[in-house]
């Protein structure tokens, strides 16, 4: 986890450049194919490791980065660590809610994240159509 995270954070500035498109990224000195391979492999490994511990919890990864981008801006040097922190905090809160709302029965935490995440996702989709794009 630590190693994988470090590898990804190292690429934050290069990721900013990749948002310009592959041609511009190349002309600014990025080895685009190598970068994409690193990002794909490392993020797949990280996701696999995390899911093997927590099980499937939907809508967190889909929603948190987009929400965080609204507050800290699109610079990955801030966006990546902020997403880690906010994502963790959000999931802790969702877990607490899942355990207490119907106490003594516990709900799966995925229900809470989907309840919050679904509407948020729709909101992003609609605002994107209006041209306030957050997502490529």
């Amino acid at each position: 986890m630590v190693v994988g995270g470090w590898v990804l954070f190292r690429q934050a500035r290069a990721l900013n450049l990749l948002t310009l498109g592959e041609d511009s990224a190349k002309s600014l000195g990025i080895e685009v194919e190598a970068l994409k391979r690193i990002i794909f492999i490392v993020s797949a490994l990280l996701t696999g490791a995390v899911v093997s511990v927590s099980g499937l919890i939907g809508f967190v990864g889909m929603m948190v980065p987009h929400a965080v981008r609204m507050f800290v801006g699109p610079d990955h040097r801030l966006l990546l660590p902020a997403s880690v922190l906010i994502g963790g905090a959000f999931l802790t809160a969702a877990d607490a809610a899942a355990r207490t709302l119907l106490a003594p029965t516990e709900m799966p935490v995925g229900v809470i994240t989907a309840l919050v995440g679904g509407p948020c996702f729709l909101y992003f989709l609609v605002s994107r159509k209006r041209g306030l794009s957050f997502y490529s």
Binding site: Q11, L20, S27, G29, S133
Partner: protein, 287 residues
């Protein structure tokens, strides 16, 4: 001002060939560029002109190492371009694309600062490094040159396409390149901004020896500001020389397939092209 000896050219292009469709490489018309030979002298402004689809943009992208040649080679300051890392190329060559898409809401200042990336040293935190005082100063200087400093904190999606174009040039200048490659830099610009950009490019060319390779469909602008013009026709080099030699009625008629009038610009004396009238007065009378 054009250097007559090419003792140490910026670029040497030898028998360059490039095609987009691999499966059709045996068909001669599938090649975007073929057997192109030329040199770019240090400190010159070279204009690349030609009809749509003649290979101008492909040529520029090959020079920027965005595309790789299928035949022949390119030397950058007498080193094989193919053997250089993208980052090494980006330290001396900056590329300004014709159109740029940016979907994330970066500010213009952040966009221009991205031009500092290739100069950044690889440390243990690698790509995470923040820009230093020096980077900020260079980016501000580049934005001042392109007249976009006032927009620094606007988001890139909120400015006009002409302003975006100038931001892209500012980003390229922030790379502090020795060679600047521009693909239709004046396409979205008003007359006054066209002249402003061309003049500041020429000033940097004359004062700092910046080498400029500039793709343009505006023959008049190219002939005013370029030391030499390279005319492409269907992927082949048709003519290379001073604007005087290239902009000639017969040449233009042959390559573009339309008749034009060529006279002299009243102030600079450079060749000037005028399109023929939609219908000549005699035709109007007879109708």
């Amino acid at each position: 001002m054009m250097p007559t000896t090419l003792s140490m050219p910026a670029y040497t292009v030898h028998q360059l060939g490039f095609h987009y469709r691999h499966e059709a490489a045996h068909e001669s018309q599938a090649w975007s560029l073929r057997e192109v030979d030329f040199q770019v002298a240090r400190g010159e402004i070279l204009g690349v002109i030609g009809p749509n689809g003649s290979g101008k943009t492909s040529l520029l992208k090959l020079l920027a190492k965005i595309l790789r040649p299928h035949e022949g080679f390119i030397d950058l300051f007498e080193e094989k371009l193919d053997g250089l890392a993208h980052r090494t190329v980006a330290r001396s060559v900056a590329f300004v694309p014709q159109e740029s898409v940016q979907v994330f809401p970066f500010t213009i200042f952040e966009m221009v600062l991205m031009g500092r990336f290739p100069q950044h040293r690889h440390t243990i935190f690698g790509g995470w490094g923040w820009e230093g005082e020096e980077d900020l100063r260079i980016a501000e200087q580049a934005m001042t040159t392109m007249g976009v400093l006032a927009l620094a904190h606007r988001r890139i999606g909120d400015v006009s396409s002409g302003e975006r174009q100038r931001v892209m040039i500012a980003r390229a200048l922030a790379q502090q390149p020795r060679i600047l490659l521009l693909d239709e830099p004046t396409a979205f610009l008003d007359l006054n901004h066209q002249i402003e950009i061309c003049s500041s490019l020429r000033r940097m060319n004359r004062e700092q020896g910046l080498t400029v390779v500039w793709v343009s469909h505006d023959l008049n602008l190219a002939s005013q500001y370029c030391d030499r013009l390279l005319l492409l026709n269907r992927g082949a080099l048709f003519k290379l020389g001073a604007p005087d030699e290239v902009i000639q009625p017969a040449t233009i008629a042959h390559v573009y397939g339309c008749e034009v009038l060529v006279d002299r610009h009243p102030m600079s004396g450079m060749p000037r092209i005028t399109l023929p009238a939609a219908s000549s007065p005699s035709e109007q009378r007879s109708s």
